[in-house]
Symmetry: D2
Subunit: 120 residues, 4 copies
């Protein structure tokens, strides 16, 4: 279930169903930006991996456009969890939301839109 | 100039000035998704790194919100370049655009907004 | 509570609290695009009005960046409802989500980020 | 060329080709928010109208997802111009950018993605 990029970053899959994906990563030394906190690209990669797994559960899906909002910095050693949910599934396109949190503290929100190849 | 996350991903800085940042990465085996093409998170990380370097040239900047649109898949061995430019710099916030390309073929576009700490 | 733009478009406020804003509009002849369905700008204006009312409940807030995803067309005579909720409220910035629906059928999703003037 | 929503808002088309759309509106009393400046929904509607006209020049296009960033307030009586350009046109999807300005002062940036019906 994990692709090479997820493995390289240490992203783990905790739960996956057609309605939800839950992934997590512990912020390590290789994940940091110049301020010494988690790189935006790491938080994005975590959210994007959850989005990709969930959106491919019911169709072959290609990501078109995503957005991420960052709420606060994440520190080394903290464990970030991404929870992806379905916002809308249409025939040709679908939309998902992913919430990022450290424990019960929200650290970001991601939304993404996919295009379905071979819509039935 | 490179932070730990950029180094771990092999992202290189080609040019950096207050008006432009140009970064690049060659897609390797660790950068792939399940389809065998560059992970969205890698393309994002490249764009985000260019955005972060450029936005911190003239102020201490914190990323608030970004968007990336994906135009087509990028294959292993291809070299992706990100060119970040200033769209608008205000006192408290600023906006940037990053174009992603393989050679002269566009593969994505990123836009991002930052908040300036200690606005002068 | 309604500003001139909301009045000109016929947008009504159904509920407003620090945690939620609920607004609605009935799609009329002046709201249509060339396909004869509700203009994207109308659906956006409805969502944005809900976002503006909610984000100004607890601070003086200025919109920085928003995104809207469209799920399906809305027809003349249909009543669209926007439900805005708080995603995250920080000291200097905050994020909101607005769901758009016709009855219980989702027609779009909006997310928005504000900057707080005079953060306490 | 103008749809009913554009006419109701007073949006004018200045130029339209397969590569560019240029539209404008003068901010009037009906376009204001509670702060007495142009409503975000008006600026969005102007950008969205330029995006819709341009994206339908070469295909039947349906808007999927858009983003707008606001740089500064626009006052009553000011004339806002939107310049839409092509970022990428693919077979099934396409991306556009719209810059908003009052004279040569940028006031916002919009990006949008469409889906092509009946891709050839």
């Amino acid at each position: 279930m994990r692709d090479p990029f997820m493995r390289a970053l240490g992203i783990e899959v905790e739960a996956l169903s057609p309605e939800e994906a839950r992934l997590a990563v512990v912020v390590g030394a290789d994940h940091l930006n110049l301020h010494g906190t988690a790189h935006g690209g790491l938080l994005y990669a975590l959210a994007d991996a959850a989005f990709a797994l969930l959106s491919n559960q019911t169709a072959k899906a290609v990501a078109l456009s995503t957005r991420i909002d960052y709420f606060r910095p994440v520190r080394p050693g903290e464990r970030v969890e991404a929870r992806a949910e379905v916002v809308h599934r249409g025939r040709r396109t679908a939309s998902y939301r992913v919430r990022l949190a450290v424990g019960d503290r929200p650290v970001g929100q991601f939304v993404g839109t996919v295009f379905h190849l071979e819509a039935s």
